[in-house]
């Protein structure tokens, strides 16, 4: 990390241009902000909360509290967990804004959504 300021200085002209576009994606900016983690529990065959809204860069962690295995699978398959047995966890970091619908691929009536907006 000690090298970072020097590196940043060299990149300064570039960063100045990029900053308004990239926003939180600039490495220096992310390092300054605390990492955000939001948890969703899987309980009684439901994702709780079913719909969550988070800022870009947030890591969402799902924990299976049921005695039946479940999965966290994006409808568009852009992310998917392995089967989570009781106590199993799965994390995914949402970097870009949008709405990400997901379901349990074993019990597809179980659905949820992550809304990412800055």
């Amino acid at each position: 990390m000690a090298l970072l300021p020097a590196a940043l200085r060299r990149l300064a002209p570039l960063l100045a241009l990029a900053a308004p576009v990239l926003g939180g994606a600039i490495p220096g900016t992310v390092a300054a902000a605390p990492a955000k983690v939001v948890t969703v529990s899987i309980r009684s065959f439901a994702f709780t909360a079913q719909v969550i809204t988070v800022a870009p860069g947030t890591t969402v962690t799902w924990t299976n509290m049921d005695e039946d295995p479940h999965t966290v699978t994006a409808n568009d398959k852009s992310f998917h967990s392995p089967a989570l047995d009781t106590g199993g966890k799965f994390s995914f970091t949402f970097t870009r804004p949008g709405e990400f619908a997901y379901f349990c691929s074993l019990h597809p009536h179980m659905t949820g959504k992550v809304i990412v907006k800055g």
Partner: protein, 316 residues
């Protein structure tokens, strides 16, 4: 009589008493309203029609062994599966074969498939499998199941065979499930099913077996199959169709025209009746009560009586 059993006529019950005799403590019920006279075996034999080829025989259904499950609802699913095997061994009439209607394993692990195979192979009876969603949750989405049981199967695991004049169809309705839906058969399998049934005489008795119910038992819990109506449309012309499933770990019946649906007990753990709990899932009951809620099912094609009689036996 089992409290779940549907009402039966006295004459039917009397007619079946001879096969109930060997059932010990088993609960007995028969297939009623969905069976038409066109497939009465006596009629068929007397008429010398194509169904004259149907000969009496017995097969057995076992379901939801969930080998590998060890939570509070049953810490010893291996033990209860072994108890089911003992019950099958003790039957005075050896079944011609066994249908396993899925959830063989709890987590699709190779060691669980191996263990289940070891437990059931002791019977020396052919076993025909269909996968449950618990057998399809590996990263390969069924690769493990197909490696263990896929020989001779088509697609993701479907096939058919004939036995003593009865046509058996194995369906996989746990592959490639869709967001917000229930179980799913899929276009490829439906196309195959249509073709598979096309050459059969309408008087051929048909037995369809799959994991998740082919009728909507309870949509809120996903207990049904999205595209079952299409499958059933191919089966409508047959005089007798029996649909056997597992998944819901309890006995339920439904009659819809010529089609009778029966869901079976598990050998592992019970689940709540539809809507009786916040969600489906393993139901913990007092230890002494557990064996009364687990079981196996014998199916008899009985000459001179009802064409098919199902006998439920608990593990108590």
């Amino acid at each position: 009589m089992d409290p779940h059993d549907h009402p039966d006529s006295l004459d039917r019950r009397a007619a079946l008493s001879r096969c109930a005799g060997w059932a010990g403590t088993a609960a007995l019920y028969t297939v009623g309203g969905g069976v038409t006279s066109s497939i009465s075996l006596d009629t068929a034999l007397a008429a010398g029609s194509a169904t004259a080829a149907v000969r009496p025989f017995t097969f057995l259904q076992i379901s939801d062994t969930h080998i590998g499950f060890d939570k509070a609802a049953n810490p010893d699913t291996r033990g209860t599966a072994l108890r089911a095997v003992e019950r099958i061994r003790a039957l005075p009439h050896r079944p011609d074969f066994i249908l396993h209607t899925g959830d063989i394993t709890h987590l699709s692990r190779d060691d669980q498939f191996d263990d289940a195979k070891q437990i059931l192979s002791g019977l020396g009876t052919p076993i025909f499998y269909v996968p449950g969603e618990h057998d399809f949750l590996d990263e390969g989405q069924g690769k493990a199941f197909l490696a263990h049981h896929g020989k001779g199967m088509l697609g993701t695991g479907w096939y058919s065979f004939d036995h003593k004049g009865v046509h058996f169809v194995a369906l996989n309705n746990v592959a490639d499930l869709q967001p917000g839906g229930m179980a799913h058969i899929g276009d490829a399998q439906l196309a195959w099913l249509k073709q598979d049934l096309a050459g059969l005489s309408s008087s051929t008795p048909v037995v369809v077996f799959g994991h998740i119910p082919l009728w909507t038992v309870y949509e809120d819990w996903g207990w049904g199959t999205d595209d079952a109506a299409q499958a059933l449309s191919f089966l409508r012309r047959f005089g007798s169709v029996t649909v056997l499933n597992g998944h819901i770990h309890q006995i339920l019946h439904k009659v819809e025209g010529n089609v009778v649906f029966h869901s079976a007990r598990s050998t592992a753990y019970p689940q709540p009746t539809p809507g009786a709990a916040a969600s489906p899932g393993p139901l913990k009951v007092p230890a002494e009560q557990l064996p009364t809620m687990l079981g196996i099912r014998t199916a008899d094609f009985v000459r001179g009586s009802a064409p098919i009689a199902l006998i439920e036996q608990t593990l108590a």
